[in-house]
């Protein structure tokens, strides 16, 4: 499903070249549950952004579903993101002026899905995530857990094959964090590939595969 071959990513900071990722070789099968751990600055977010096509590797090849996606142009990559990839962020990234239902509907709107189908899907998602009575609330009227549930509902609205979560519990307390992780883990049972970035070892240990990163390199792979 996801195949990285000798992927590197380096940035220019001033006139110095800084490598965020060095020669990453990684393959993740469909339906895998992978956690990426490591100290801050180890390159785990950069790796997640690369997999999510928000960033391009400096060198190396990234294949998604067998196709070389790093060779695609911006517009084609946008389509791949729309159809195959869902994001869950630490700070939720909900659009503040839109209601919960509208936030969930956003990827469907961008993809140009007809109104009636959108309404059906959004209603189902609201129901699944226990948000039906919060549908018309704006993000600032929701609790942290509810916001992240809206974000997960939005990430799954296009039925993506890959779900990328960057510290999804970072802004939540223990209990709600646990609920959110449960929701994400339920998705892996429906053949969704879940890649979770966290610096919390307890959380990372729940994943089937655990990658530890230091200085842009994967230093250990653990399988449960």
């Amino acid at each position: 499903m996801i195949q990285l071959d000798k992927v590197t990513r380096s940035f220019m900071v001033g006139d110095q070249q800084v490598s965020a990722l060095r020669d990453i070789d990684l393959s993740i099968a469909a339906g895998d549950y992978v956690s990426i751990m490591g100290p801050s600055g180890s390159g785990k977010s950069t790796l997640l952004n690369l997999i999510g096509l928000l960033d391009r590797p400096t060198s190396g090849i990234y294949k998604l579903d067998g196709g070389n996606v790093s060779a695609l142009d911006d517009e084609q990559q946008a389509r791949v993101r729309s159809e195959k990839i869902g994001f869950v962020f630490q700070s939720f990234h909900l659009v503040p002026r839109l209601s919960a239902a509208m936030n969930i509907e956003l990827p469907l709107i961008l993809a140009g899905i007809p109104v009636h189908e959108r309404k059906v899907r959004v209603a189902a998602l609201l129901e699944n995530y226990g948000l039906t009575d919060r549908a018309d609330h704006r993000p600032d009227q929701l609790s942290g857990g509810q916001r992240q549930r809206v974000a997960i509902a939005r990430a799954t609205s296009m039925h993506p094959a890959v779900l990328l979560a960057d510290e999804p519990t970072g802004n939540l307390d223990q209990t709600t964090g646990r609920e959110v992780i449960n929701l994400l883990e339920q998705l892996t049972e429906q053949k969704v590939t879940l890649i979770l970035v966290t610096h919390d070892p307890a959380l990372g240990a729940r994943a089937k595969r655990q990658l530890h990163m230091v200085d842009g390199q994967i230093v250990s792979k653990t399988e449960n």
Binding site: G52, E75, A78, R79, S82, F87, V95, L106, L110, G112
Partner: protein
């Protein structure tokens, strides 16, 4: 993304930041309204002058004593002299032309009018009975001057003069004193108000011969010629020149102009003025356009996270560009719609305040105002929209 969704999303983000949106609409609408109002005023002034000219009479040719030299100044002018006066005989001679329908000689002077203890200064106009027709004047009471060049001591009062001297009493048949002569009132002019800076309500009209006696002159201030038809105007002008040239011993010492020529000049000047004023207003419109660009740029930097999110959710650059573009188009079209309403309301108010000024927004001004506001709104949003579309999703999501 569907068009209706694009519009909905854009209007959503407009209503999301209400102050910003209202300010932009305000700027745009002030621009549009000022174009409408200023051009309406300009057009009003033009029409006003045109109307004033036609109220002076139709197919008019005017004869002035003296000649306006375009090259240099004649010696007579320096001394404030006129080479030769226009006489009453000159005026009568003009009737020989077949292109001339009627003439009205005019002589002008200032005198004191009194009735019993009441007196005031008035402008006395000496003319003939044809003046009424030539100048399109109308009489309220009694009759106008008698036909022919008689020196009868009769006069026709302007409406205001009659009111001041007679109040509610009847003026017809009464005697008034002009200077050292007595005149019998035979008529009263209808109130017409100001016309080319000449208020017919405040004058007294007497036969031209009486005026000459009163002021002890023989000259004419001007001769009004009414041509037989519009096509005869040029012929009448030529004839007047030839006749007066012959009568003045082969000296071209009169000026003959047609009303049309004067009118056309005024028309041109005022139209240019309207365009100039409209152009100045259009500058305020483009300032509004720059404001839109400014605020859109701020919007882009305020909404980087949202833009990053849209990119993460699979919106291609073109779509993000379209969203910002649509916002600008919506803003400028709402702005111009509001501006049209404000502008038309303003024009109505002006029309109410100054009923004599025929203000009306010309159609080309409406088109130009709306067109310029749309074009500036759209073209000034190209840059912000492109900037939004080019944002790097990772840095945008981080809000940097």
């Amino acid at each position: 993304m569907r068009l209706i969704d694009v519009v909905q999303f854009a209007s959503g983000s407009l209503s999301g930041s209400r102050t910003r949106t209202l300010l932009m609409i305000l700027a745009m609408s002030i621009g549009v309204a000022s174009v409408l109002i200023l051009t309406a005023l300009g057009e009003g002034a033009r029409l006003y002058v045109v109307n004033q000219f036609s109220s002076l009479g139709t197919n008019l040719v005017l004869v002035f004593p003296g000649r306006t030299e375009t090259a240099g100044i004649g010696p007579g002018m320096l001394l404030g002299q006129i080479p030769r006066e226009l006489s009453l005989e000159d005026a009568d001679a003009l009737l020989k032309s077949r292109a001339v329908k009627r003439i009205a000689p005019l002589t002008l002077g200032s005198s004191q009018i009194s009735r019993d203890a009441l007196n005031r200064d008035v402008i006395v106009l000496g003319s003939t009975s044809d003046l009424l027709e030539v100048r399109h004047m109308s009489l309220a009471l009694g009759q106008f001057l008698p036909a022919g060049n008689t020196g009868e001591s009769v006069c026709v009062l302007g409406a205001k003069i009659r009111r001041e001297l007679f109040g509610k009493e009847s003026a017809i048949g009464a005697w008034v004193r002009l200077g050292d002569r007595r005149f019998r009132v035979i008529g009263v002019m209808a109130s017409q108000g100001e016309s080319m800076g000449f208020n017919t309500d405040e004058i007294v009209i007497v036969p031209v011969a009486s005026a000459h006696m009163l002021f002890n002159t023989t000259g004419l201030f001007r001769i009004l010629i009414e041509a037989k038809s519009r096509d005869a105007i040029e012929q009448a002008k030529k004839d007047a020149e030839t006749i007066l040239f012959a009568r003045h011993n082969g000296v071209r010492d009169v000026t003959v102009i047609t009303q049309d020529a004067v009118l056309a000049t005024f028309d041109r000047i005022l139209r240019a003025l309207t365009l100039a004023v409209g152009g100045i207003a259009a500058i305020s419109l483009s300032v509004a356009g720059i404001l839109i660009m400014n605020v859109m740029l701020i919007a882009v930097s305020q909404r980087v996270q949202e833009i990053g999110l849209l990119k993460a959710l699979g919106a291609p650059a073109a779509q993000i560009r379209n969203l910002f573009f649509t916002e600008a188009v919506l803003l400028s079209s709402i702005g111009s719609a509001v501006g049209l309403i404000i502008g038309e309301a303003g024009v109505l108010v002006i029309a109410k305040l100054y009923p004599t000024l025929p203000v009306a927004t010309p159609w080309w001004a409406v088109l130009a105002a709306v067109g310029i506001s749309l074009i500036t709104g759209v073209s000034f949003s190209v840059w912000p929209a492109r900037r939004a579309a080019r944002l790097d999703p990772v840095t945008a999501l981080a809000g940097r």
